[in-house]
Subunit: 165 residues, 6 copies
């Protein structure tokens, strides 16, 4: 059996996806066990595991491809997270998106910016929630209230972003 490729794929998948990797594999398997196995084996066990190109460059290429395809918004959001995990900065992601206006057109770039903003806000919220939990255990209640307020303001702002251009 191809145990080796699958195992290598799981390792690479988790390296790229970070802490959410385990959960993502479970969801993939629930969707379809065979396609899930191929996703782990070929893209991650074979391709992303090849030594000839660093993961940062690989995620830049993937984000450019997904913006250009234009019909996989969920995967674009997942790979924006992955890119951040392997060392691409938020600023660099915005740069890739702006550059795609040249090749894939302005509508593709605008849709991708919206997706990136959503990911950034989700990450900020997750970060806030983590900090809030720690704060709560430490009983710094007054500060907690403030953070929640900020978080609410950011969420409202985020809803405005989602409104159509």
């Amino acid at each position: 059996m191809n145990n080796e490729r699958y195992e290598r794929g799981v390792q690479k998948f988790k390296e790229i996806k970070g802490e959410k990797g385990e959960e993502a594999i479970a969801r993939l398997k629930e969707l379809d066990p065979d396609l899930a196995r191929y996703v782990i084996e070929f893209p991650f066990g074979d391709v992303y595991s090849r030594p000839g190109l660093d993961l940062r460059s690989r995620e830049i290429a993937t984000i450019a491809a997904l913006i250009t395809l234009g019909n996989a918004p969920l995967q674009l959001k997942v790979h924006i997270r992955s890119a951040l995990n392997v060392g691409v900065s938020r600023r660099e992601i915005i740069e890739i998106i702006i550059q795609m206006a040249v090749y894939a057109g302005f509508p593709a770039a605008l849709n991708a910016i919206r997706a990136a903003k959503e990911v950034f806000e989700e990450l900020d919220k997750e970060e806030n929630e983590k900090r809030t939990k720690i704060t709560r255990t430490n009983k710094f209640i007054p500060r907690l209230v403030k953070i929640n307020e900020k978080s609410r303001i950011r969420q409202n702002k985020s809803k405005r972003h989602r409104r159509v251009l």
Copy 2:
């Protein structure tokens, strides 16, 4: 007038395209002077000149986008040359192409590999021709003959590559 953007665009264009830049701008202008101006001003004067992302990463993104589009083989070949100019290796270009099989499908990757091979062979031939010229002025005629033979062999091999898969 937008002289500043145009001038910055010409500089960036030449930095990316290398020695063939001047000639490429001339051909662009002959095609359509207005579109040529926009190509210099927006993609090169505005986008590629932005400081937030290095040129190597920008060319990786562009190559990924052009493979995914799949209908701009000439531009793909031009940007494979550009990528080599700004520090992407031949091996890394092959890696990007192989990775695109995952996102744009195997036919797109196979067509891109063929384009890359053509560029690599054109570059080898150009390199050989340059060396031959130098050799000729230096009167090392016996060695020159050998190089030409090699070059002929490579060309024949290259024709085989072009045959359809």
Copy 3:
């Protein structure tokens, strides 16, 4: 008038769409009467009515095309139902989708699997509802409760499926 083509189209449309055909034609007409007429006349009255290829093969081709287009998720779901109606099995639909990873890329395949799972669950639910109605008239109330429970479990499970990969 083209009564003949339209009538043939309605017949073929109903043959392919099954019991929901009538309702679908009504919705098409409400959307735009002229485009609705063309949909019935050309794809169904002309193309699907041609004798040279069986309906099973036609729906396989259509599903492959819709996965590859990637931007018509609603039509993909409708044609997954049609394919099931004309003799393609659930398993075969999954096979077509997995195969499309090779040609249209993994994101297209993953989005299509999600669509297929949604259709399968909708069909199971419809099937359950029908059986429940029959059961109710037959006063087998204890069994009915069980079925409803199962259906609720399945729905919850289905919501998990919808979460992004």
Copy 4:
């Protein structure tokens, strides 16, 4: 600085988008100030401001392009509004969409018709709301009630349209 192009872009943007232009620019800026500037400068300050083609023809071309891309439904809806603003009639928009069935396929045309119907209904609703406001200030309360009723009926009808084909 490129003040001239930006200012010309803002003027052209407002000319095309109508009364909602100001708000749309604000949302663009909030999304990403740099990409927003490029959107104003290049498409609107440069391209749409060129004298060689009237705005009506430009919006016809843009709508055809967005239907064909198939992955920018929001931008399609925005440009259907723009087209109406610069003299394309509702009937003509429907004609362009029907014609696109020939080049981009029937699914693309059906999705575009749905988008157009949504825009038309939004516009009717906005029109009704404006008239209602005027009526209210004029204290014609009995008539107002009737208009609201009509508007509710239209909304319900509109929900039916949105149901998937």
Copy 5:
């Protein structure tokens, strides 16, 4: 039979394609008689024959769609000729192409400009050949020589255009 639609289609096809229409229909039939019939009947007999949009606007939409598709260069060239036949000027065609850089990306626009330039040069050559024939019958041999020379110069220039960007 659908004689009416087919006849209307042939009329519209010839109206749009001009003097080359007859020959084009013959070639279509030789390719595949059934698909040829559908091409005449649906796009031309049904769609282009609809009264709601003028032919000039229809060809603008078609050119925009074909540039955006990016994979039908032959049809793009044919429709550039058609557009010229129904009143779109060369300048306006260039404007549509430049505008498509915004929606379909710069590579698509550059490829389309190259196609348009080829069509314009073919038309100039055909025009010259016609004039030459008339001149020959009129025995103005000295002038004829001059025209041929010009035409040769233009052809050489045209070959330069074709070189890749």
Copy 6:
């Protein structure tokens, strides 16, 4: 090592491609040994080797996908040959192509018909050449001359087909 998948892939590849399979694998390897290995392993060793769908249906799906992609004319021609090898008739291939006019648009269908005609003519020519060889060994020279004449006529006719629509 993945010897098993590779070997299974080679077997399936040859089963689908027929007598030209060996040569095609050699060309793939020459293009890029790694991508060649992946092509054999994943599409052929994994996907086409799965038991859930017959090869005839698989090739129907692949042809539909390649017509829809529209940017892989070489692969489309290769898979038209494959489809014929696994039991799809010429007539059925034409039917799939005509049907794709509905989903991928008429230009995609017209380009695909042209590709199919080229494949059919290449196959007829290959068939003729084989028969000619056998005939030659059997010394039926008078008949051979006739066959060659026919073949020349067919070739001339084929050149006409290639002219652009």
